[in-house]
Symmetry: C2
Subunit: 147 residues, 2 copies
DNA sequence: AGGTTTTCTTGACTCGTTCCAGAAACGTTG
DNA sequence: CAACGTTTCTGGAACGAGTCAAGAAAACCT
């Protein structure tokens, strides 16, 4: 796993550092983590690291396409290892839980941007992001609820 | 327009205040405004108002379903008058411009949540949000670019 | 190894948003 | 229409996420 991450970094023209590997490892273990959670895990793994280092890594890797950033309304940014597939997200309105969901239509469905040119001439669309909102099992059930 | 807004407020069990009407008016004039822009417009319309009042109004109206909040990654929250239709958003990666776009599929297309139960048992989905990412005409053209 | 460039640390700082307590405005009821 | 109970607004402080800047440290290239 570490080897893969290292070569992925190198392929992207980035240097391989313990910090970056640790961030990637953290996200591999716990996808959809926010920056704070990543920070915790990384510290547990490689000891002291600055907040900025983690933010920098997250931003850099996101820019280079190794990570994907998702930011559901109301919660802070979450990250996940980009697998290049076409999956979307299921977000709980109450607890903020994020779950992956395969694209219902199979192949990049919502990119059928019919009428785009009409509505907004010149707008060059390169990605469609779909977020399903609702309540997870725990939050839907009044008995299981945790604040 | 003001009458409609007033009755809408009353129907929702909310009191009718100048501040709320002004916020609604501001969003009618300029959809997809952020809190700061709304604040500006409201002040121009009814004079001094506190930041909190506007935030409170935005939050309350959003909770009651009179407004819709959208929060594209990287920019602050935007609001729009809920029209109850099924439209989505086109967001410029560079300047943050938000444009409306009618749903390509016509009727609540992305709610075909095939396989939801399998992936996340018990997850009760009630809305699908689609965001198209790309570059607006101005930002796509190197000559027109503004920072 | 030696030099360069990238990356990490430290700490201050901005920005969007919320919290709090008290004052004011709204709608209702006598 | 006056008095009351709620809801809403004011003002100021506070918070969290994220960014900026300058120097130290580490990684790659030769």
């Amino acid at each position: 796993m570490n080897l893969d991450a290292a070569t992925a970094l190198r392929d992207t023209g980035l240097r391989v550092t313990r910090q970056r590997l640790a961030v990637i490892a953290a996200l591999a273990e716990q996808p959809h983590s926010g920056a704070d959670l990543v920070l915790d895990r990384v510290r547990r793994e490689i000891g002291p690291i600055s907040t900025q280092a983690v933010y920098d890594v997250l931003n850099t890797l996101t820019d280079r396409g190794l990570l994907r950033r998702i930011q559901p309304t109301g919660s802070s940014a979450r990250y996940e290892l980009r697998v290049g597939d076409n999956h979307h997200h299921l977000v709980c309105r109450r607890c903020g839980l994020v779950a992956d969901i395969d694209c219902a239509k199979g192949e990049a469905p919502c990119l059928d941007a019919v009428g785009l040119e009409v509505t907004s001439p010149g707008f060059a669309v390169d990605e469609a992001e779909v977020t399903y909102w609702g309540y997870c099992a725990a939050c839907a059930d009044p008995n299981t609820r945790k604040p």
